[in-house]
């Protein structure tokens, strides 16, 4: 049994990383605490360094990766945003480090529990993104992430995302892969374009002006990211052969005869699956599609899962103010050219700041989605917030002295 955070630390340990720059932030801190302990005790032969900020941390991480070291680091929320400009630099350096983000909603108001506005803010940075549902998947995804990142056809950094609290501080059974097998799965890092030799200096991320040079390099990052779709397939196959667990770009749950589908990601997908089971017991033909790899965007896999459904509900655990759910937009875009697209596409927004999504809310989603499918007209964004929650909010507003004047 281990927490998601400890599973993440084990991922880095089994990947035999060389360098770990660290900066604490709730709910991620347990990851770097564990790694610090192991580096101190000699269980992990990596250099562990605490930096003065996440910005410095990611700078150090990218720079170390550029010397040819295998680098791991982790952050959350405000920390990810503080490091934000470096995300684009590190991807531009084609420095394939692995960064774990433990999702936590963004201030203000400040909170600790998860939603995905933090990690999805990084979706255009050139980092690939794998979102995990379980503690086991956290560990396994980190191993897969290094293998994909370091592939010459990809050579891009990866964010592995797990939800704060619901995974980070939740103990689940986790099978630790055999280190010898991991060594076979993940050979030593020998990048052709990175490395450090005093006799052969090189400059990375050099200044270019005029637009045409820049327009050559940034699309290379896009092409590299797109390559990661097929590389992921190969890596998933090899991972399954060695460790017996299979991870795909997206995970389908009870899709076979489903009329209506719920699309969601991360730890609450477990609750979504339970809700699918309940709805099925009531006679509803529903299923769940869990988005696992979000960058690159697996458009083909998503289209083939959603094709011919009556209605699809996208449950975003994020909010783009003035627009709605981020993943809803991407799902809608990739269905536009699909002639057999669902009759109705519905947008739900829930779980902001880690707010629970209750069975009753899932029930409402399935009911409204079925109605939308009958009518052939989508709905949303529907904000999942209950009457009981508003009553509680009113009491808090009273205590806080909130008034209409």
């Amino acid at each position: 049994m281990m927490t998601g955070n400890l599973a993440a630390a084990w991922g880095a340990r089994l990947a035999d990383v060389d360098y770990i720059p660290a900066f604490p932030i709730t709910p991620q801190t347990e990851i770097v605490e564990a790694l610090s302990k192991w580096c101190g005790g000699g269980e992990l032969a990596a250099r562990f360094v605490t930096l003065d900020s996440e910005h410095s941390m990611l700078t150090a991480a990218g720079a170390a990766e550029a010397t040819g070291a295998r680098v791991f680091t982790a952050t959350s929320s405000q920390g990810l945003l503080y490091a934000f400009e470096l995300l684009y630099s590190v991807s531009g350096w084609r420095a394939p480090l692995v960064l774990v983000n433990v999702s936590r909603a963004l201030a203000a108001p400040i909170t600790l529990e998860p939603d995905h506005n933090d990690v999805l803010a990084a979706r255009d940075s050139g980092f690939l993104q794998i979102h995990a549902e379980t503690c086991q998947e956290v560990l396994d995804s980190i191993l897969m992430a290094y293998r994909i990142a370091e592939d010459e056809r990809v050579m891009l950094p990866v964010i592995v995302n797990l939800d704060g609290f619901y995974l980070s501080f939740t103990r689940e059974p986790v099978v630790l892969p055999d280190p010898d097998l991991v060594r076979r799965f993940l050979p030593p890092f020998r990048p052709s374009h990175l490395g450090f030799k005093a006799s052969a200096p090189h400059a990375l991320g050099t200044a270019v002006v005029g637009g045409s040079i820049y327009s050559y390099f940034r699309p290379q990052i896009h092409l590299a990211a797109m390559n990661a779709l097929s590389v992921h397939e190969e890596v998933a196959l090899e991972f399954e052969r060695l460790f017996g667990r299979r991870y795909d770009l997206v995970e389908g749950y009870r899709l076979e005869d489903a009329q209506d589908l719920l699309v969601m990601s991360n730890a609450f997908a477990s609750r979504g699956k339970a809700a699918v089971d309940r709805a099925r017991a009531e006679g509803r033909r529903v299923g769940l599609l869990r988005l696992r790899m979000i960058r690159p965007w697996p458009a083909d896999a998503i289209r083939s899962a959603l094709r011919d459904r009556r209605a699809v509900a996208v449950l975003d655990q994020n909010l783009s103010p003035g627009q709605g759910g981020i993943l809803f937009q991407e799902i809608a875009a990739c269905l536009y050219h699909e002639p057999r697209r669902p009759r109705a596409l519905c947008s739900f927004i829930g779980g902001l700041g880690g707010k629970n999504i209750s069975e009753g809310e899932f029930h409402a989603i399935f009911e409204q989605t079925a109605d939308a499918g009958e009518r052939g007209e989508g709905i949303g964004p529907v904000l999942l917030y209950t009457e009981a929650e508003l009553r509680e909010m009113r009491e808090l507003q009273l205590l806080a002295g909130a008034s209409d004047s």
Partner: protein, 259 residues
Amino acid sequence: VAAFTRISREAIRERGVVAHPELVVVAEATLIADPAARVTQGVSERTAVFVNSPLVPRQLQDSVSLPGRLSTMDLTGRTLAEFGKREAISALLGAVAGRLTGLEPAAVSEAIRRELLDLGLPSAAIGRHQALALRCYEDLAPVELPPPETSPLSSAMLQLPVYEPPGRGTARISAAANSVLRETGGWRTFRPVLDPGKCNGCWLCFAFCPDGVIAMTPEDKPVIDYEHCKGCQICVHECPTKALIAQREEEGAVAWRAK
């Protein structure tokens, strides 16, 4: 530095670089021979070209090969005579450009006033700039600018990007240092010249040179690498015995040529 101006009575639906200029104003003659400066890009025999140079157009054509209809004036010399500073040529360049594009002198003068006011210059100094600019305006013969060329429209040949290995597809320079090949001596208006008799061998010029182009002999005398000295005059300013003096580059329009 390159800047572009479009003037039209119609709405201008164009941005950025002017690919086929009707008029090019070259502020520094040595840039013509410097391939990295690309001052003649887009210049054809139809283009009007003005060069800040003491040479008359025929003399200038002997040392550089320029297409286009050429006119010249020694704006740097006029600026030095009036202000004692080589940098103050902007107003004059503007006046010249105004003359060649057919703007009215009062409008050019007012534009100069507004620009310099924005820089915080006192009004007396602005008046001197305006007066000198107007003299340059009057002394330069106007030229007729060519009507704009139109060419038949065709689709660009698009080159769809393909993935290339990170060694090629990453913004990375792994070639050995090559800045010595980039000769910057042409940037000078003045060159520092040593009077060895006055030099006390203190090495201050060596220490202050921001470009590292001053070497010292075993006898503690500076040797200046004129192929790379940009003429900033910091050594001249710092020399405690005034052994380094600034000499105007005036062997011709092109005192130095890129190899």
